[in-house]
């Protein structure tokens, strides 16, 4: 998914369909063409010695799909999975390869159609998350929806950053009893 599909040029496309979901009471939106499906939360198998942000992997019809927790990436409050917790399967470019990926969401709402004219650029300050991750903000009903620029969230530099975090951690020592 590239920037084009996340935020199409204003003059070319009149409206945009996005899936809205909630992370730590904040509303987010992703353009639907990059979304494969929404799953109920299921047990995620951890991959040892990887950053916490990368939750682990799930078995999706015989395929092994990684699941990430954006709340950790965005430094948000973490809450235990509930019946509302979902995994949104998206397709995103990671290191130049189209990769299916699961995003943990506290709640998934609905697909909304928004007018491209209503999309406002992200405010320069006062964001909880990196401005680079946001392609725009749109008001829908009572909420502001943050349109995510997923290609930036999973950009190699960002991944390198989180991978470094794990290597800086103290590796587990030999057993000493």
């Amino acid at each position: 998914m590239d920037d084009q599909t996340e935020l199409a040029p204003m003059d070319a496309i009149q409206s945009l369909q996005i899936l809205s979901f909630v992370l730590d009471e904040e509303w987010f939106g992703v353009e639907i063409s990059g979304i494969q499906e929404v799953l109920e939360y299921r047990n995620v198998t951890q991959v040892p010695r990887t950053p916490d942000f990368m939750l682990g992997v799930i078995n999706l019809r015989g395929r092994v799909i990684p699941v990430v927790d954006l709340r950790r990436q965005f430094e948000m409050h973490l809450s235990a999975p509930t019946v509302d917790t979902c995994i949104v399967i998206i397709h995103v470019e990671v290191d130049g390869e189209n990769t299916p990926l699961g995003i943990l969401a506290d709640r998934v709402h609905e697909v909304v159609e928004i007018d491209t004219a209503d999309i406002k650029p992200p405010p320069r300050i006062g964001n909880r998350i990196k401005t680079a991750f946001i392609s725009g903000i749109v008001r829908h009903d009572e909420h502001f929806i943050i349109l995510l620029r997923l290609s930036k969230v999973f950009a190699p530099e960002e991944l390198d950053l989180v991978r470094e975090q794990v290597s800086q951690e103290e590796p587990a020592e030999w057993d000493d009893v």
Binding site: V47, P48, D175
Partner: protein
């Protein structure tokens, strides 16, 4: 792949590698008719196909090469070493020309220069491709060789009329492989011998691609009284001696039958019965042998039909088979839990089917490793020339089969090892002579299957590894403490360290110290091992051991809390119960006693930070990485499973200690451990 241009390119590349193989063969044996024919055919086919898909320039260029091989075939041009070099360059040029139907001006200039060189050799006018088919219009591009028997019985006056049979035979031999038997005609009577009367009869067995008409054309000028009998023999037709004799009118059919009734050996019996002179029978026996040989060849030459399938379809098939295996495991577990007889018989049936399907699918992915050997021969040859060394590469076990993915990923490390041997191992001819070795160095590359694993050996008879120099270098670089006491094996292992090179000079080929560590890592990423052995002054041997496939492995399932981890069974030595008494509390390192030796031990629970409480008695799996043994402590050992390896994908690239994941019977995921890396990480 339906684009004709793509198909053309792929086929052209195949023909180019055939050409290359033929040329390298011809370098050793410059007159091998078989190889010359192979080279001619590949050029001929590329020329024709290129013309059809609009690669006109390429078609024109190839035409000159075709002409050249034609001349070689006719014996007008000799294949010298410089000429073979030129043709090899032309082969590379063709590969470049394949990129674009209308090549750049530069490429066209290269073509022109090469064409001039070739036309000088062939003596051909700088003519266009119009004058295509030279002397060999009869050569039909397609179709298999056929076997003909031609009986020639010249007229009695043939010699008096100035005819000779030799030119005819020469012309026939131009059409293909021939075998001639001669005998005296039935009219021969020694009492009235006349030297000028022709009493000769010839019987020719001919294997050829040429049509019947072109055979008949050979006899266009002989007299009308000659008896020429051309019969096609099919591969199925049995050629019995008796029948041949009957066909040649040596024996009457009924006489033969009488003799046959008396059995056992037709030849002896016919001779004994005085029906034919012993020599006649003998020569006919020769013919029989020839025909049988040719028939055998023909049967072999008609290969089983095969089709080309794009790689990704095979990968898809493999994936689906993998899923089927997983599904089958789930069903089996369900049947076991529900204790339903019908379900378990179904599960069993499915298990049988899926196992078969899996094996067939693996088999499809298997390719002989020899497909890469051809490339290596060219590489060795070119490199030896560049370095001014004389080297022969001998390969063995080209038919050894490996997963295509493994072959593809093996190619680079092998190239590297061969280069190393050429550059550092094998000395220049002068040095070799001084040392009393033959001037020409030898490189051996062999592949073989050994206990379900593939073993690849690269051996040279070069200088060998200088342990002292390696050691001093290692100390200089701080890899080893001065005064360390290392045995030769340990010293050899040092060259696998990053940034290590003992070459005195850095050459274009190798010696920058990026190399052996990369080789080792790529082999290990294929779940393989590298071992090295060397004798100073005698040579070096590198031994690579690899699993046959990467898609599925035999695994040992272990558990820590609720997590499951799979260890590749090939690394597992044994499972022991770790007893606390053997822990060395002083050093903080957990050691366990294993066969009178203390080995370090890694507790997976701590290393992977798995939650929960360890059970009272833990299990330790002893694994071997290279020469080192290590213990991996887990809660429980579940058992042996066929493990379908699933990639963790890009996101988890570089996840330490894990090589992939597998889906278990209950649908849950288990991590497959990369034991080599685990040991490496634990050491740090």
């Amino acid at each position: 792949m339906t684009d004709p241009v793509d198909i053309f390119r792929e086929e052209a590349l195949e023909h180019l590698s055939n050409l290359e193989a033929a040329l390298l063969e011809l370098e050793q044996a410059p007159t091998s008719a078989e190889e010359i024919d192979a080279a001619f055919r590949s050029m001929h086919t590329i020329k024709g196909a290129a013309g059809m898909v609009g690669f006109d320039h390429l078609s024109q260029f190839t035409h000159h090469l075709e002409t050249l091989f034609d001349r070689v075939r006719e014996g007008q041009v000799e294949l010298t070493a410089p000429l073979i070099n030129q043709i090899l360059e032309a082969r590379d040029h063709i590969e470049r020309l394949l990129d674009d139907p209308s090549p750049s001006v530069e490429l066209q200039a290269v073509s022109a220069a090469q064409i001039i060189q070739f036309t000088e050799v062939t003596g051909e006018e700088h003519a266009g491709p119009e004058r295509q088919e030279t002397g060999h219009a009869s050569q039909t591009a397609a179709g298999e060789a056929r076997l003909y028997r031609i009986d020639i019985c010249p007229a009695a006056d043939a010699f008096r009329d100035g005819f000779d049979t030799l030119p005819l035979l020469k012309e026939l031999s131009g059409l293909g492989e021939i075998h001639v038997t001669t005998r005296l005609g039935s009219s021969f009577d020694p009492r009235h011998f006349e030297p000028e009367t022709c009493v000769l009869a010839l019987s020719v067995a001919l294997t050829t691609h040429a049509s019947r008409e072109s055979i008949e054309d050979v006899f266009i000028f002989v007299g009308d009284e000659w008896q020429i009998d051309i019969t096609a023999i099919t591969a199925d037709e049995d050629c019995r001696l008796g029948d041949l004799l009957v066909d040649q009118k040596v024996v009457a059919p009924d006489a033969l039958e009488q003799v046959l009734e008396q059995q056992p050996r037709a030849g002896e019996l016919i001779t004994a019965a005085g029906l034919a002179a012993p020599e006649t029978v003998q020569s006919t026996l020769d013919e029989q042998r020839f025909i049988r040989e040719q028939q055998k060849k023909q049967r072999k030459a008609t290969p089983e039909q095969s089709i080309k399938v794009p790689q990704h379809k095979l990968d898809q098939l493999m994936d689906q088979v993998g899923e089927l295996v997983i599904l089958q495991a789930r069903l089996e577990q369900l049947a076991l839990e529900s204790d339903d007889e019908r379900a378990s018989s179904l599960a069993e049936e499915l298990s049988r089917l899926s196992t078969g399907l899996r094996e067939t699918t693996f088999d499809i992915r298997m390719l002989p490793i020899g497909s890469t050997f051809g490339r290596f021969r060219r590489l060795v040859r070119d490199l030896a020339n560049d370095l001014g060394k004389e080297v022969v590469l001998e390969t063995e076990g080209a038919e050894t089969e490996l997963d295509k993915v493994v072959i593809d990923r093996l190619s680079d490390p092998l190239v590297h090892l061969l280069r190393n041997s050429l550059d550092h191992g094998i000395e220049t001819p002068e040095v070799r002579r001084e040392k009393g070795k033959p001037a020409r160095g030898h490189l051996w590359l062999s592949a073989s299957q050994h206990q379900g694993q593939i073993q690849i050996l690269i051996r040279d008879d070069g200088a060998g590894l200088d342990t002292e120099r390696i050691l001093s270098k290692a100390i200089e670089r701080g890899v080893v403490q001065p005064g360390a006491d290392l045995d030769p094996q340990e010293i050899y292992q040092l060259i696998f360290e990053a940034g290590f090179s003992t070459a005195q000079t850095v050459s274009d080929v190798s010696g920058r110290g990026v190399g052996m560590d990369v080789v080792k890592r790529s082999i290990e990423s294929l779940q393989g091992r590298v071992q090295l052995d060397s004798t100073l002054g005698k040579g070096t041997e590198v031994c690579i051991t690899l699993p046959m496939t990467l898609a599925i492995i035999d695994g040992l399932m272990t558990g820590v809390s609720r997590e499951r981890y799979v260890l590749p069974l090939s690394t597992v030595e044994e499972c022991v119960e770790a007893v606390p008494e053997t822990e060395d509390e002083n050093s903080g390192v957990r050691l366990i006693r294993h066969r009178d030796a203390l080995i370090p031990c890694l507790r997976l629970r701590d290393f992977f930070r798995v939650g929960g409480q360890p059970p009272e008695i833990e299990q330790t799996v002893v694994v071997r990485v290279g020469e080192a043994l290590m213990g991996i402590t887990v809660d429980e050992v579940v058992g042996h499973f066929q493990t379908v390896i699933k990639s963790l994908g890009r996101l988890y690239q570089g996840a330490g200690g894990v090589m992939g994941a597998t889906i278990m019977g209950d649908g849950q995921i288990a991590m497959i451990l990369d034991v080599g890396e685990l040991v490496e990480q634990a050491r740090k």
